[in-house]
Symmetry: none
Subunit: 187 residues, 4 copies
DNA sequence: GATGAATGAGACTTCATTCAT
DNA sequence: AATGAATGAAGTCTCATTCAT
């Protein structure tokens, strides 16, 4: 009905709508219909941009990975002179975990897809690889998977638990796991 | 028509079928129809046992929590005389992670539900509480959430990653996180 | 909305509606929606009776084969005392051809399916087999396929052509093809 | 973008692609999109050449009629000196029937259209008329519709049946139907 | 002359749920 | 206590066709 015949950024706008819907209603809620309605776009426009529903979901999560990694990298890079780099990790956990539920929900949904679908697994692997490169600015390569895992687990649990984070306890755990200088590997 | 007119264990058998289907096809795949077909049970029998689909899912995950916790507790309890109890944690991570994909898939799906639905969140909290009680047999209460988180994160990542666990590195991380005696709390 | 909750003969009624629609709009026109609307039945009822659209089509054509063969057999059997049995064939061609366009349309659609789909081919083979049994009441088995073929071709062409049948010419051809007594096989 | 900016024979190439698709998937399968993909042509090109889908189908079947009639005429003309012309008919039936499934499928689909649509009926009538002209080189005009019909029916049935043609039986039938000299009309 | 973007209609199908028995 | 019949809502996807460029 409306006169708008072409909208150059529509694809990206749709992807962000998809992520919003997944955050609110889960992957199951991100139907063609729901997205089209939320973005005020004709239903036919959905299948034009994403021939398959899975194409849509995959594109959305790819978009998420790009967006999120940029933020992650920024946090890791923002280390003031003379700061213990382990503070960056604490910051990441507490900020990310305490902050946006949206990210957590999206991650949880992505993992649920990944454990059963190779394509999404590959997407996460790539994302994790990029995260580790960011971590390796400060820490020894052997440690980065462990740091990653602890952060993931804590953020996940913090979203489940009702108690807020105890920052001091998180800090203590991070410091102990990494050790005084990031290159120690023996207990 | 069939010979089996009443089947006392049907409810539990259905719950296990539900979990099998979730493991294979995700929560979305555990429809009344799919479960009925997989368990060779009339469709009407499903709504008889579980008036609502969500009742069915919730009952299935409750059943999972019970089953899984029993196993978890058993592993933590099986500490040979004189063994460093941190070995129990290492064992848990490596066995669980390397082993059954089924458990991981089910956990991932449960988390995806939990981050958006209070009822499932409560279910996990209860489960996590029981896990911590098991851990507190060996470790200080302040440490158990961290141990739990590291384990969760590592198992999750191991399922995503293609590389197998490096047991030594896992052991080193666990030992460092917990410290020489399980009651240390300062870095 | 209406109170009618069960209708025992619904399945057959639907099959006849399907055939009516195919006759009017071709196989392509026999959609779930169209049939449901024509039979005044909820859409969900269609997939309840015929899980797949092809199930619906196949069932409809099976029903057609049964119905049609009964009529064919009746015509072949209705040979008055002392009548040349070849008159039965002439009658068949002229009646069938001149009569109901419905049957012809249905046959044409069925053939179009059969040339590409084994299942429909099998259905026709069975139907043809039964027709030949009916023909063998009067004629030698070697002749029946030829009689069948001539009849089929003539009926088909008569529906395409605008000119009406020339009964005498048809009779002459049938008599010549079969010969004075139905057991002759040499030219 | 591509090097081929104008392609003179595209229209004909598209028509042949259409026929290929109909042969494989039926008329229903010959969609704009499927044809465009199979011919590696942009979708917009389809509606440019054939404003309506039915234009496309009609053009394709017209093309088929031309092609096929040329072949038919060639077979009928190829009568060696002194050969009984009825052998041409036998040859036609056996070659055509035993040979290309493609032609049969296309004919069947065309008939299915023709029984419901006048335009396609006219197309077949014209084609049949040209066939009869070819047959009249050898046979009396009153016989040609019968010959045509027998051939059509036999070829059709041979494609449905699993048994191969029995050439001798076909020959006997053809000879009997036509009679010793092609101008006999009385039984 | 030719084509990419876009869209509205409708197709098949799945499904949770209700209800009479 | 248990189940077969039935249905309404919604989901994914395909497609002919239009139009601006």
């Amino acid at each position: 009905m409306s006169t708008r015949r072409t909208e150059p950024g529509r694809r990206v706008r749709l992807l962000e709508t998809v992520l919003d819907l997944i955050a609110r209603d889960g992957v199951a809620g991100a139907t063609y219909r729901a997205v089209a309605a939320a973005a005020d776009v004709p239903l036919g426009s959905m299948t034009y941009h994403f021939p398959t529903r899975d194409d849509m979901l995959y594109a959305a999560f790819s978009h998420l990975a790009d967006t999120q990694h940029a933020r992650f990298d920024q946090i890791m890079a923002a280390s003031p002179d003379g700061e213990d780099p382990r503070e960056r990790v604490v910051d990441l956990i507490v900020t990310h975990g305490g902050g946006y539920g949206r990210d957590m929900v999206l991650s949880a949904e992505l993992y649920a897809l990944a454990v059963r679908d190779e394509r999404y697994r590959a997407l996460i692997q790539d994302w994790m690889g990029r995260s580790r490169v960011s971590l390796e600015r400060h820490f020894a390569p052997e440690l980065t998977p462990m740091i990653d895992a602890l952060a993931e687990g804590l953020v996940l649990h913090s979203h489940i638990s009702t108690e807020p984070f105890d920052v001091d306890r998180v800090r203590a755990a991070v410091y102990r796991l990494i050790g005084p200088s990031g290159d120690a590997t023996t207990p």
